[in-house]
Symmetry: C2
Subunit: 299 residues, 2 copies
């Protein structure tokens, strides 16, 4: 098996100390290498200086899109309006329309630009220089870094209608779809196998990362708006005994561990498909087709 470089390989048992108590806690994960604050990046601020008098920078499409990304990172998607974006760029709203056909196209451009951050990520390879597993590992962590860098934007990446039915989020760019298929195809995957792997991989990435940013977003909103339910917070879970019993476990943020374990599992299943020449992902049991009832071994 090729090396799987990004991400800590040291295993970390599920119980890593005292269980977090109530539910909402400032989520700090000092070990997660995909988190922006662990990569020397500040949290999003109004990087666009307000009016910028003096020298007038002539305003082009890239500056508008970058401004929109910074604005959403700082204030959230619902706050983004053409007027406010113009104000943030020191310009009237209507000036934006010289470079952007409209709001929807601006959002498309934002999504494309965010996904294109993969090209600038030195840990993501466009060619599978160290095998397809390394390629998929790096790509997955690159997408995860994007999701965690722009949590307010990722739902947009996930749900904006793709250009074709087979261009699946979160890999919305033809270039990356081509790159991924080539990485698989040049490493022994048949056409069918490559497409099966592409679908399984995008489905895994989308589901996991969307849930991760949602979870993080709720937690963050809860801490900077400290009055969800006035009675402290544990809600009234009296009708839900299992939930309230498991709430400490449920509140544990094991997203990085889960991400890496699920990703490794997926890669292993792809490896098995490759080894056996099958055209679908194998289940975990030794002989996949014997589907009749085995003796139930429940604890």
């Amino acid at each position: 098996m090729p090396p799987r470089p990004p991400g800590p390989t040291e295993e970390e048992p599920l119980q890593d100390g005292a269980v977090v108590a109530g539910g909402i806690e400032p989520p700090d994960h000092p070990d997660d290498p995909d988190l922006p604050e662990n990569r020397g990046l500040r949290a999003a601020e109004d990087a666009v200086g307000p009016p910028d008098l003096g020298t007038r920078v002539p305003l082009d499409r890239a500056r508008i899109i970058d401004g929109a990304i910074a604005f959403v990172d700082a204030h959230g998607l619902p706050m983004l309006t053409m007027r406010r974006l113009g104000a943030a760029l020191g310009v009237e709203a209507m000036s934006l329309y010289r470079y952007v056909p409209g709001r929807e196209d601006l959002l498309d451009g934002v999504v494309d630009t965010v996904v294109d951050e993969l090209f600038a990520d030195p840990d993501v390879l466009f060619e599978p220089e160290h095998g397809w597993q390394d390629y998929l590992q790096r790509l997955a962590h690159g997408v995860r870094r994007i999701a965690l860098t722009h949590p307010a934007l990722f739902p947009l990446v996930a749900t904006r209608p793709p250009s074709a039915p087979w261009v699946r989020p979160p890999l919305r760019s033809l270039k990356w779809v081509e790159s991924l298929l080539r990485a698989l195809h040049t490493n022994g995957f048949s056409s069918v196998q490559a497409v099966v792997a592409y679908r399984a991989y995008t489905s895994f990435l989308l589901g996991h990362l969307l849930l991760e940013v949602a979870q993080r977003g709720v937690a963050i909103n809860a801490i900077d708006d400290p009055d969800g339910s006035p009675t402290a917070n544990p809600m009234d879970l009296v009708e839900f005994p299992l939930i309230s019993e498991l709430q400490p476990l449920l509140s544990l943020d094991e997203t990085l561990t889960e991400f890496e374990e699920s990703l490794e599992s997926l890669l292993d299943r792809l490896q098995t498909m490759l080894d056996t020449g099958a055209h679908h992902l194998p289940p975990v049991t030794a002989d996949p087709q014997v589907d009749v009832d085995l003796p139930q071994t429940g604890i």
Copy 2:
């Protein structure tokens, strides 16, 4: 292994005949039992009669939310405004505010109501009467039926901020989270195992179904608006040889097969976790921790 009733069990090889040619085709899947048109349901229409003079039905919250669901099913999410919804219900927009605090709360109610359709689904069991695998199978297909019945609503189900970080879409209801945890816990899963399974299950459901409705939505939009790119459709994929070569394969809609195979694989991995008493999902290889390089078996 307990029976896995919903969904066709007969295997269907990936190549099921002639490959669909160009890309957009009216997607008909006569074998998919989760599709609304195969369950005796019509496509969404304006079920709410326009003014309904004569006898005035006094308009309550349920009628408003049902009207909103029908409206979105019929016209899409961006078309839903308070004024138009009022008009569809034969009422002024402001009258809605007597029963609904505002638009956001209306959308929350819509999402809750849609998820609650699970309770009315006779093929979904609230208690694991036939084992946890049967339970998860039925629940998964029930959620899939919801997603396919309300494709325009499912992105909302997926991305609306959950009430707590651990209430994960698409299972947004405390009742179903409790039900799922209980189904696992009463069938031998430890607390940690139940939570791990809950997370893996929701992540799988969300990723797969969101991609499925997106794919279906793009295809449907493409057929009832037959002028995406005027040059027929194949775009200019000259820069992407693998994509254009694989386009027939990529355009194949194998969503049902993929859904069932991925679901079975997940259930098998959960079974293995249960059997071995592990606290995480197992990879497919026999000895998971030997992570050093094996000989590369690429073709």
